[in-house]
Amino acid sequence: MNGVTKIQDRSPQPAPTTEAMPILEMRGISQIFPGVKALDGVSIKLYPGQVTALIGENGAGKSTLVKILTGIYRPNEGEILIDGVPTTFASAQAAIDAGVTAIHQETVLFDELSVAENIFLGHAPRTRFGTIDWRKINSGAKALMLQLESEIDPTIRLRDLSIAQRHLVAIARALSVEARIVIMDEPTAALSRKEIDDLFRIVEGLKRRGKAILFISHKFDEVYEIAENFVVFRDGRAVGQGRLKQTPQDEIVRLMVGRDVKDVFPKVEVAIGAPVFRVENYCHPTEFRDISFELRRGEILGLYGLIGAGRSELCQSLFGVTRPSSGQLVLEGKPLDIRSSGDAIRAGIVYVPEERGRHGLALPMPIFQNMSLPSLGKTSRSGFLKAANELALARKYAERLDLRAAALSVPVGTLSGGNQQKVVIGKWLATQPKVIILDEPTKGIDIGSKAAVHAFIGELAAEGLSIVMVSSELPEILGMSDRVMVMREGLAAGMFEREALSAEALVRAATGNQ
């Protein structure tokens, strides 16, 4: 982590000197989860009538910040001031009452309710008998939609609307509760250029009404178009903030990435051998298209991209969990026909999934049974399970991975995150694969375990395994990979050899920013 501090010392700029008083100020906010410090002493200010762009890599702490501002998490340290008055958000409702509203990536609205009901849910106008005043709801909704220059009929159900129209409904809802602070979490992710233009016109309107807007986006062109101020997050810290007009784009990319990679990841030099695995024109009906690459013995191929770029979907498809619409896999010169994950395991391709809780482990089952699960064919004798063989297998990989557990028969759910990750990796190594696909191998685990996992990945490569490593962490990608493929919106956006690797180039390819 020493690389981080080096850049951080010179990067923070003085906060914007604006005469106006910030509507909302966060001072020294920290949010700590077991093993992870999601936010570390973050301070930001939001001003009326201004858009502040929040920029950062995946996992930099943006979502955590949104959850604190909307009252879902309570920070461990720091204070939130509204109009200069310290406030605590005890619940989501408290945040709404304080005037904070969030419009999420997938807007949190109710498909089966009408537009008007969605707008007024929880604060519907009442008649004098205490029943819901439908006339007022519908006319109120219509008036709000007209303010947003939209003619959507407030009585139609939400599920009949497009995503852009749903955003409008969410914004109308924000207006109806008279929110003063509007958080927009990647609102443009699923919108077309025209819809984005419409949205931006509405954002300009919100600015004129004096709302403070926190705009989260990966896309620099949009950020420069709509925002006045910026905050860059990295590893849970606000590493830079200021006025966008005075800040060139390169500076922001540098802040986002900013660390000296080679110090943190000593790359194990491995002699790279002959091609082992080839993917030819792999396509999926909806998630990715025309992906081709080749993997050599002992090689680590990094797979970089933003969330939603199709990386995990590609890997799941290579592993037979989903079927491609076309394309061919070739392993050691032989074409493969993979119809299920069982086929992939037998062929020697394994996938260590990203969410170890959801995809990786049966938490109530003992460690050794989790480890042996994909290898039962090898540990069983004539169709009967052999606990002794399973234990021997588990012991071998537990020792190799330095797994810390009271016994191999305790449920996996009792282990720490880092040790659970070791069980997942051990489980897949035990199948003795030729190609191993690691999806975010160090996500959500502590620094110490991270280093151990990185060292271990290096060892695997040295033993001749071919590795595909999906990661959203640039330092990890830059430090570990022999080559990097960048994906953007389901397409291969570039292939970089190690000599040509640079954080800036990868981010440019991933964001489509020239």
Partner: protein, 329 residues
């Protein structure tokens, strides 16, 4: 001692022993070996059905059609026996298991291929199977005098001090332990309930595993159909009505998690015995028949509350992990 109390099976054994001791102060002779053997024999069918139910519940499913399956199969073998008294008993038993397995396979197929939630599927087939029993019998009864002596007497015949019915239950218990702990199918059942996604990633076909679990449950229900009809010496449409709930209750009391993936054969057996002891004791200690159902219901609820608390303790770390996952999302 504390560790022993944390083991659910041992705890349940102690509770059952205490219950028996308590009841014997009110009803002398309750704790005598002869009476205990009777209770076990009385509970045999519940034990067999609970083991089938457990296999299904492990895969995160539920089979509400077991009692209806039992009624249909029981009716079918009783009518066959009445119409063709010369057919050997072994053939009738094979027939009962076969019909039961087939009805279970229908459940399993609907769950597997059409992806209908198991509770919906088996609620539907519960009614269908009972209705089929009605159609088959025309609403009529098969009484003791229509059944052959072998058909009626074999399960009651004592061998080494226990009736054959009890020995069948013991064999099924051993068989269930073997299948769930020594065969890959058993491991697949635990894994597909414990974490379906992880199971798929490990190359396990959870649809097929669920299908097999329903076939096992159906086959055991079919076998129980014969045992029930022979034991009570009568077959009619409404036999064992509502008994599916007893099988679920036995599993829940025995610590089989309704969410799937957790549970042991010993737990299911002890859960069934717990219910068996209560059902046998309440009449003996002079509790009014009107109050008996309510009391056993209360005991079941207490057992479930107790289990839920135990599960929550075990789940703490899992919950923490969920919290951490949300951060990264």
């Amino acid at each position: 001692m504390n560790r022993l109390l944390k083991n659910r099976e041992i705890l349940l054994t102690i509770i059952i022993a205490l219950m028996i001791a308590g009841f014997s102060t009110r009803a002398p002779g309750f704790a005598e070996p002869g009476n205990l053997a009777n209770i076990f024999n009385d509970t045999s069918i519940l034990i067999i059905l609970a083991l089938g139910q457990m296999t299904v519940i492990l895969t995160k499913s539920i089979d509400l059609s077991v009692a209806a399956n039992l009624a249909f199969t029981g009716m079918a073998v009783a009518m066959t026996n009445a119409a063709y008294p010369d057919l050997p008993l072994a053939l009738l038993i094979v027939m009962a298991i076969g019909i039961g397995a087939f009805l279970g396979a229908i459940n399993g197929y609907l769950v597997w291929a059409l992806r209908i939630p198991p509770i919906v599927v088996t609620l539907g087939t519960l009614t269908i199977y009972r209705g089929m029993a009605f159609v088959l019998s025309g609403g009529g009864w098969v009484n003791a005098h229509q059944m052959g002596p072998t058909f009626l007497n074999i399960p009651r015949m004592p061998v080494l001090g226990l009736p054959i019915l009890s020995w069948i239950a013991i064999l099924i218990v051993l068989g269930a332990w073997f299948v769930l702990n020594r065969l890959p199918f058993g491991r697949a059942a635990y894994a597909s309930g414990g974490n379906p996604t992880a199971a798929i990633y490990a190359g396990i076909d959870i649809g097929w595993t669920k299908f097999l679990a329903f076939v096992v449950s159906g086959a055991l229900a079919g076998l129980s159909g014969y045992l029930w009809v022979s034991r009570y010496a009568v077959a009619y449409v409404d036999i064992a009505a509502g008994f599916e709930l007893d099988t679920v209750a036995a599993c829940v009391i025995g610590g089989i998690s309704i969410a799937g993936g957790i549970g042991s054969v010993a737990g299911a057996v002890l859960g069934a015995l717990f219910l068996g002891v209560i059902k046998n004791a309440l009449p003996v200690i002079g509790i009014s028949p009107f109050a008996q159902m309510a009391i056993s219901g209360i005991v079941i609820v207490l057992a479930v509350v107790f289990n839920a608390r135990a599960e929550r303790k075990a789940g703490r770390i899992i919950l923490r992990d969920r919290g951490a996952r949300e951060v990264s999302a």
